[in-house]
């Protein structure tokens, strides 16, 4: 059984078919990449898995269970974490607090015990901190631990967002363009982290990325999309050399040249 099964999913925004009959499976323990030109529908697929949108047709199955019967705030509890293409951090909170929000799914205490900060709450908080500290160690976020997000440079924000997703302790991690806007060195770090998440933490990763270099170096399988439709699926080199993919990219850059 695959960890995630996307089955014939279609979504329209008015007249635009953002995702058109897309099907793929993500196996446990692999890094699966989605590639394709701008507007291909990659982020929309992520939003469908996050349950921000209802698909017109098709089904999304995670761990043998359809996601469609779950509201958006259940998705993290099922073990799916994500990052956003346009960073969506909690700006007026510190890095530590942002990561701690990731631990929300493990909240066991209720409002009344929290208002009194009973020993049970304190115990749980110390546990949360110990967990989050591991993420901070892993991503080298020590220097920014108590800094407010508003005021952090772009590259650090990207890493914090990845950390917040890791704090969820996910089975499946969705990374939307983890390396966009990063320098070569920073992209190198991302590649190492993705490897470690897969190998050491046993996290399955579904990733959208434009940097083909990164995609080729970390991913096991790649799916290429264009205008919401599936073009090709296979190993990175198979997909990169697929005629339809080359066509889509050249076509896209031609369009850009005309425009």
């Amino acid at each position: 059984m695959s960890l995630l099964e996307v089955k014939n999913v279609t979504l329209k925004f008015g007249g635009v078919i953002a995702v058109n009959d897309v099907s793929f499976n993500v196996e446990e323990g692999e890094v699966f990449a989605l590639v394709g030109p701008n507007g291909a529908g990659k982020s929309t697929l992520f939003n469908l898995i996050s349950r921000f949108y209802d698909p017109f047709e098709g089904d999304i199955i995670f761990d043998g269970e359809s996601l469609l019967k779950h509201p958006p705030h259940d998705i993290a509890n099922l073990g799916i974490a994500r990052t956003f293409q346009n960073i969506e951090l909690f700006e007026q909170a510190t890095v530590l607090q942002n990561l701690l929000v990731g631990r929300h799914r493990f909240r066991k205490t209720n409002m009344f015990s929290e208002l009194m900060f009973l020993p049970s709450v304190k115990k749980k908080e110390l546990e949360n901190r110990a967990e989050v500290e591991k993420v901070i160690d892993f991503l080298d976020l020590h220097p920014y631990r108590d800094k407010y997000i508003a005021g952090l440079p772009y590259g650090v924000r990207k890493v914090v967002e990845m950390g917040r997703a890791l704090a969820i302790n996910p089975k499946l991690l969705l990374l939307d363009e983890p390396a966009s806007g990063l320098s070569t060195e920073e992209t190198q770090d991302v590649a190492f982290w993705v490897e470690d998440m897969k190998k050491q933490m046993g996290i399955t990763i579904l990733m959208v990325e434009h940097d083909m270099h990164l995609v080729a170096s970390v991913s096991d399988r790649v799916l290429a999309l264009s205008d919401g439709k599936m073009l090709a699926m296979g190993t990175p080199s198979e997909v990169q050399n697929h005629p339809a993919v080359i066509e889509a990219y050249i076509g896209a850059s031609d369009d850009e040249a005309v425009a």
């Binding site: 921000f52 705030h73 956003f84 700006e91 530590l96 409002m111 208002l115 908080e125």
Partner: protein, 366 residues
């Protein structure tokens, strides 16, 4: 200059960040406890007023500052707390120790009730919906004359606290201490909230609903809980206001009070407990300060007594504009800068607090 080192996770979640803080806050509390022995009865009343406003301010702060939801209707919850507290005492014969928390509870439930249909609203729409609630409550008070006394109002009975009777005119110090006790408890609750998962869920909803959802936070429910806690605290403030004023009518808790509350926390500094207190000091002492200056000007220039209608609101408006333009963090922001200046002396740089470039966020979820 003082440098802080953290040595354990406990440092983050302890009530006081370090012993230094603990010392100053305990000193402040002791000073507040001793206050009635040092000042006149009239001033004790004024300080009680500040505390009650600060309490109401903390209630609104949880909603506005912590959860990012607007409310122009919090006077309604002052009214609900005030009326239910007095009605429970007068009509049902309950003692204050029971009627007071019940008043908070009733007000909190009313808040949750208001939140259920309004949590889908944002910004100005939410403000308008809460404003409407405030106006409706005023009407309900008039219509429910048999229990609320309608336009002629109600008298607050003397507080019966374990057989000890407290009337704020007869024994202002006792009422002051009672209020101080309530305020202390709420401050502790507020601090606890900030260091626990619920407080972080509030902040998450405030800063990005979309990623709060992706973190497993039920946004609608979190907003409703925030409304509940916020309006419960405001209700407690309302109950104390009733005993403080002695008599109140439907006019006591009008829309102007709602607006004043909101302006108060903006001037004080949105998002901090300090802000509620700073704002309350301004709101409570501004009229005194103005009349003092008016008399002073009148006497110095021998103009006799001057009466300028609307002066208070005008000055308050100017203060508000000043803060929005120059110090969006309110008085608390100024206080932070001052404190940092002392702590870092002599290394403070002028642009230390300059706001950093912020990244634009789009409405689209991508």
């Amino acid at each position: 200059m003082r440098i802080l080192f953290k040595t354990s996770y406990d440092d983050d979640i302890n009530l006081f960040k370090h012993n230094h803080h603990r010392f100053w806050y305990i000193l402040l509390f002791v000073a507040l406890l001793c206050l009635p022995f040092l000042i006149s009865d009239y001033m004790v009343g004024e300080f009680t007023n500040v505390l009650i406003w600060a309490l109401a301010g903390m209630g609104l702060m949880i909603l506005v500052g912590q959860t990012g939801q607007a409310s122009l209707g919090h006077a309604a919850f002052l009214a609900i707390g005030c009326y239910s507290n007095v009605i429970l005492q007068s009509n049902f014969g309950l003692p204050f120790v029971i009627s007071f928390p019940l008043a908070g509870l009733i007000s909190g439930l009313a808040g949750v009730l208001l939140a259920i249909p309004t949590t889908r609203l944002h910004g100005i729409y939410l403000a308008i919906a809460t404003l409407a609630a405030s106006i409706i409550i005023e009407d309900i008070i008039v219509l429910a004359e048999p229990i609320t006394g309608g336009v002629s109002g109600l008298y607050a009975p003397d507080i019966n606290l374990f057989g000890y009777s407290i009337n704020r005119y007869v024994d202002p110090s006792a009422f002051y201490w009672l209020t101080l006790g309530v305020v202390l408890i709420i401050v502790l609750f507020y601090k606890n909230l900030l260091r626990s998962p619920l407080g972080r869920a509030f902040a998450a909803v405030r800063d990005s609903e979309i990623s709060a959802q992706a973190m497993g936070i039920n946004v609608a429910r979190t907003k409703a809980v925030s409304f509940g806690i916020s309006t419960a605290i405001t209700g407690l403030a309302g109950a104390l206001m009733g005993h403080f004023a002695g008599i109140f009518t439907n006019e006591t808790f009008n829309v102007i009070i709602s607006i004043t509350l909101l302006l108060m926390i903006v001037v004080g500094g949105v998002g901090s407990i300090h802000g509620a207190f700073f704002g309350a000091i301004i709101v409570a002492f501004l009229p005194q300060l103005l009349s003092f200056f008016r008399d002073w000007i009148g006497n110095t220039f021998e103009l006799g007594s001057i009466v300028i209608p609307g002066l208070e609101s005008a000055v308050f408006g100017c203060i508000l504009i000043f803060f929005i333009l120059f110090e969006p963090m309110g008085i608390y922001g100024m206080w932070l800068k001052l404190r940092t200046w002392f702590e870092l002396f002599p290394f403070y740089r002028r642009d230390m607090f300059r706001r950093q470039k912020s990244y634009l966020k789009t409405e689209r979820m991508r």
